[in-house]
Symmetry: C2
Subunit: 362 residues, 2 copies
Amino acid sequence: MPMPRFPAALVEAQAVEVLSAWGMAVPAARVTAARMIEADLRGVDSHGIVMMAQYEEMRGTGYFNMSAQARVARDDPATAVIDGDGGLGHVPSTMACDLAVEKCRTFGLAMIAVRNSNHYGAAGVYALRIAAAGFIGLSGSSVHRAAIVPTFGAEPMFGTNPLAFAAPMRGAPPFVLDMATSTAAIGKIKLAFLHGEPIPEGWAVDEAGAPLTDAEQALAARLMTPLGGTRELGSHKGYGLAAMVEILSAVLPGALATPSRGRTRPSANAEGGYDVGHFFIAMDPGRFRDQGGFDDDLEAMVTALRQSRPRTPGQPVLVAGDPERAAEEDRRENGIPIPEAYLRTLRDVAKRAGAPFLLDGK
Amino acid sequence: MPMPRFPAALVEAQAVEVLSAWGMAVPAARVTAARMIEADLRGVDSHGIVMMAQYEEMRGTGYFNMSAQARVARDDPATAVIDGDGGLGHVPSTMACDLAVEKCRTFGLAMIAVRNSNHYGAAGVYALRIAAAGFIGLSGSSVHRAAIVPTFGAEPMFGTNPLAFAAPMRGAPPFVLDMATSTAAIGKIKLAFLHGEPIPEGWAVDEAGAPLTDAEQALAARLMTPLGGTRELGSHKGYGLAAMVEILSAVLPGALATPSRGRTRPSANAEGGYDVGHFFIAMDPGRFRDQGGFDDDLEAMVTALRQSRPRTPGQPVLVAGDPERAAEEDRRENGIPIPEAYLRTLRDVAKRAGAPFLLDGK
């Protein structure tokens, strides 16, 4: 049975209704909903409207400032720090991207880091926002709840710390890499669970370090391998990348680094927030190349990759972002699919918030 | 039988002798040798003095300018492009690090990219050079010879494109991640071959995509998996990271992107060089935090990682750079070990160059 689909604008309006019913100012709710639905449009279902139930839960903990006023806390020529005031991450991260683009126009390079924030949705959305201005974008985020187990370790120390990179292309959507630094994103385990399927060996482990393939057990244990999976196959690299993202996202702007939560520092910051951090870098190809040089060479490289010999006839070599581009074309045309079970959840979330429910079945 | 060991200064002097006998100016030879021996000191044997035989081979192709005069080709406030003039990569990369540090002092952030270069040794050496100035360092490089096979692909398109990240720590050596974006570095296969050992399944494949475990066959085929190994375990992420490094190293400064070699563009640039590229980013924690804040929080994070519960008692959780730090302590004290077989090779290289051989057995 095909899933019900809804126009992006309607899903976005639903998100605005719930967020503003929770007390978020309408302009902030609009920005947050726009970033959420950009993830849904790109097929990154785990980071779009489906997050609304989790945001409701986080709001319930009180670790969540619905009337947050994000502000620039420190402003230097090519760098800045934004304080998210304990709210959701989408608003300060959008500010950060736009400030990075502005500074990059002047200096050819800019970096903004955000502290005192929360979940910011899909990392790729921000790298793409920078690419849309014609610059190379790089973004990453810490995650308040640890999941990645270090090589040789038995307990989770980092969130799945995403890293996204986007490079603008002439006459085509940007090259965009959007990855968790774990072998698989937790959303993929949730998806397997919803479909009643096992997960591949190597994604998740139990407390003794043995691989888990049952999706429900893996979700309960929440112990993810770093990219690479095992020491022999390079898990120390995935672990190192997760640490790099944590240093740039959390340590650099002064957010609460997740390995320190509940150990050397309490789980929340002094104001009682999760204190998640993000970073955003913008780089201007025009400062390095003459007009068109970067476009020509990136196009040639991507063309060479696409034309390279496939292992299996009929499954061509893809370039980072291809599956998301295909999803976006389909979803802009045919709407965003939402599983029936989640529609029921969303109806309940809206009801509890006192917001209208706009996604009634067809 | 233990390997012969030699003081770092002597190995460095040997490298200077050979490089200058090849026609490299002495100041350039000194810089090149210093970067090579820094790799040896850190235990990155694959990128130190052992490269001399390969440099001799590359010199023989004529794709290699021994009297290169690296120069700043483009200079903007926070960014610059250096042209390596077709020489080895160590000199322009050292210039790039030092220029990045200088610009970072002014702008809190700087990025230098190098084109028309060649092999630059170990990426970590450059990230560490930036960290030694108190800044966060990030570096990567393209590689003229393709080895990484894209997910779904059957032929190699990228070199093992290294990425290194270093963050300064107070009263301790920097945190430093230094990784190939392939599952394993080619040097590790060479090492297995030299020891007559098989390689783990997942590092390398044959032309049909089947895993190779024979080190000799794997060296001959030179088809490396991207970090992640298989699509199921995230090889599209390693492939995407290799592409990101290529875009920043080669496409950005206008070097020859390896996927385009011999396809959309010839293998060498117009001057007949391999035209490898590198990038270097410096970020000043002092622009983001008050005095000491970054140091305190990075120390707390690293301490939490070290103190986290190990999977196996007696094998504590490590932090990126720990094995290299241990190697450096040992080697500064006891000298750099060089296998007998390679000493013989090096003697022949020196002889052919007309340089004195300084590493006679004890």
